[in-house]
């Protein structure tokens, strides 16, 4: 079973049952824990319940106070921030996208959503010309998926990138884009191996700028 199937089931029920939705939104963190939801899963559940329909400021919890430390962030607060100045006109720049939506070409192997301790640090290459029918999604958040007719541009906007190129808003869209599965508690393989691997490929493609899209 994928790690977030419980969250997906609760979301489905809440979307069809207003009373149940209200109960979930009013539940205290320890009550949600009693449903088997870890803090990170609670953040996924509540943010999708609250923020996908109109809300008022009074509806919103202090997300960072409640869930800011639900995940183990690598702490770079005392380290320098890498910086490459962007110097060329954007109309001449080659642009690549990176998503952590767990997208992959259906002919490739899917991401591992079972390893709750380590996650999956691997990446998949998505060539620009990949059709929507050729893309699949496998993410530990089971609610991440394609839209109508398999559209995945809300996760990796390749069609938009092609439009921006045709309109002259960017110089070119990169030949390849990259997809990770955004659940990697054990970050060392990502930092030492797979992220540098993607960086090398972007350099080889002479990419000028990369836009990173989390899930």
């Amino acid at each position: 079973m994928d790690m977030s199937e419980g969250v997906v089931a609760l979301l489905r029920r809440a979307r069809n049952d207003q009373d149940f939705r209200t109960i979930l939104l009013r539940a205290a963190p320890d009550e949600l824990s009693n449903l088997g939801l870890k803090p990170g899963q609670q953040a996924v559940l509540l943010s999708n319940l609250l923020l996908t329909s109109p809300f008022g400021p009074e509806d919103l919890p202090n997300w960072d106070a409640r869930y800011g430390h639900a995940f183990s962030w690598v702490d770079y607060r005392s380290q320098a921030i890498p910086w490459t100045p962007f110097k060329i006109p954007i109309q001449h720049a080659k642009v690549a996208f990176i998503t952590t939506a767990g997208l992959y070409r259906c002919e490739d192997s899917p991401f591992d959503t079972q390893d709750e301790e380590r996650g999956d640090p691997s990446y998949r290459i998505i060539p620009t010309e990949t059709s929507r029918e050729a893309l699949c999604v496998k993410h530990h958040l089971g609610l991440v998926g394609p839209g109508i007719e398999g559209d995945t541009n809300h996760l990796l906007p390749l069609r938009l990138g092609q439009q921006l190129q045709q309109e002259g808003n960017i110089g070119a869209l990169a030949a390849e884009h990259y997809s990770f599965m955004g659940y990697i508690p054990h970050t060392q393989p990502l930092i030492e191996r797979t992220a540098p691997g993607v960086a090398l490929r972007l350099c080889a493609d002479q990419v000028d700028a990369t836009i990173l899209i989390p899930v």
Binding site: T52, D64, H69, I98, P157, I211
Partner: protein
């Protein structure tokens, strides 16, 4: 995505990260350039499926940040919602 962005930036390529809901990840990981969407839930990084105007707006915002941001670690907060109007 912040860890990946830092690696790519170290390799000499400029980056912009989106960041959903929480401010904490950017504060800890410190990517070079971040667009923080505090009202976007996990799972919907560019809005609801099929909302192409939202996708365009966000990607153009990212391109604009590339051109206008000159300070490492900048976090640009955009108070958009996935359901609009924005």
């Amino acid at each position: 995505v912040g860890l990946i962005a830092r690696t790519i930036e170290q390799a000499g390529i400029s980056t912009v990260c989106f960041n959903l809901l929480l401010a904490t990840p950017s504060n800890y990981v410190r990517p070079p350039r971040t667009i923080w969407l505090p009202f976007f839930p996990f799972s919907l990084p560019l809005g609801l499926p099929g909302n192409e105007p939202m996708q365009r707006r966000l990607v153009l915002d990212a391109l604009d940040m590339l051109m206008t941001c000159h300070t490492a670690g900048t976090v640009l907060r955009l108070p958009y919602t996935v359901w609009g109007p924005n």
